[in-house]
Homo-oligomer: 131 residues x 2
Amino acid sequence: MSGDGAEAAFDALGDPVRRRVMELLAEGEAPAGALAAILKESLGISQPAVSQHLKVLREAGLVTVRAEGTRRIYGADDAGLARVRAWLERFADGFAGPLDALETELARGKRERRLQGRAEPVRDRRRRGAA
Amino acid sequence: MSGDGAEAAFDALGDPVRRRVMELLAEGEAPAGALAAILKESLGISQPAVSQHLKVLREAGLVTVRAEGTRRIYGADDAGLARVRAWLERFADGFAGPLDALETELARGKRERRLQGRAEPVRDRRRRGAA
DNA sequence: CCCTAATATAAGTCTCAACTTATACAAGGA
DNA sequence: TCCTTGTATAAGTTGAGACTTATATTAGGG
């Protein structure tokens, strides 16, 4: 429960350069080189850097790639974006996502009980890596 | 053009702990201490760390705070979340946000012209800080 | 075939931000 | 008035990841 795949997407969108890439792709597909050229001009970022960003976006499912000769044509991937939207629906004023009224009530009750505050067994854990 | 305030929100949501805080707040308001207790138990994170995360969320406009005695009651702020949704509407299959059909066409044409690739004046720029 | 063009990967550097502990501050209650 | 409880701020450390340059890879063209 509570495990969508929006994690990687949000991690990826946490970077302004990658957000810019997505904005460019929102207007239509583009070869990697064109994106690199635009980002080099506007932000002074090198081609390899852009390539690395594209890789992150790919792995987050936010972009699609299609080979065309030696070119890689990138496009925004609705699948990844949909997962982001789904995550946001939790906050949709009124109900909490795919839960029906009853489950919502149960969850709320459980939360309130948990929120009373009872903290002792402090497991361990150290740094939450997001490779 | 192209300057919404979704930037800070996405930067904030780029962190898994802050996302977790938002998920908790999606179920309802909670005092900082309760959030700290939950995150300590589940992720082993200290109270000051949580306080710092809450500060980031506050500055991103993603949460509201209300003082109640010595407690700070946090809640999800629709304003910030709305800005995130607005950014995502760029990708809404078909049209590009608040632009009408004509403007969309113009934008697309301009993009395609830009994407032809013409890069020379490599300004300077160094590291894109996001205080 | 080799050369060029388009992209990706390797390897290394350096900044930033997410943590830590310690402490300050504010609001009640005894 | 002090102590306690709840929260925020200060100061310092450290690992991740966003860059860099250099090089590998792949596809076509002459």
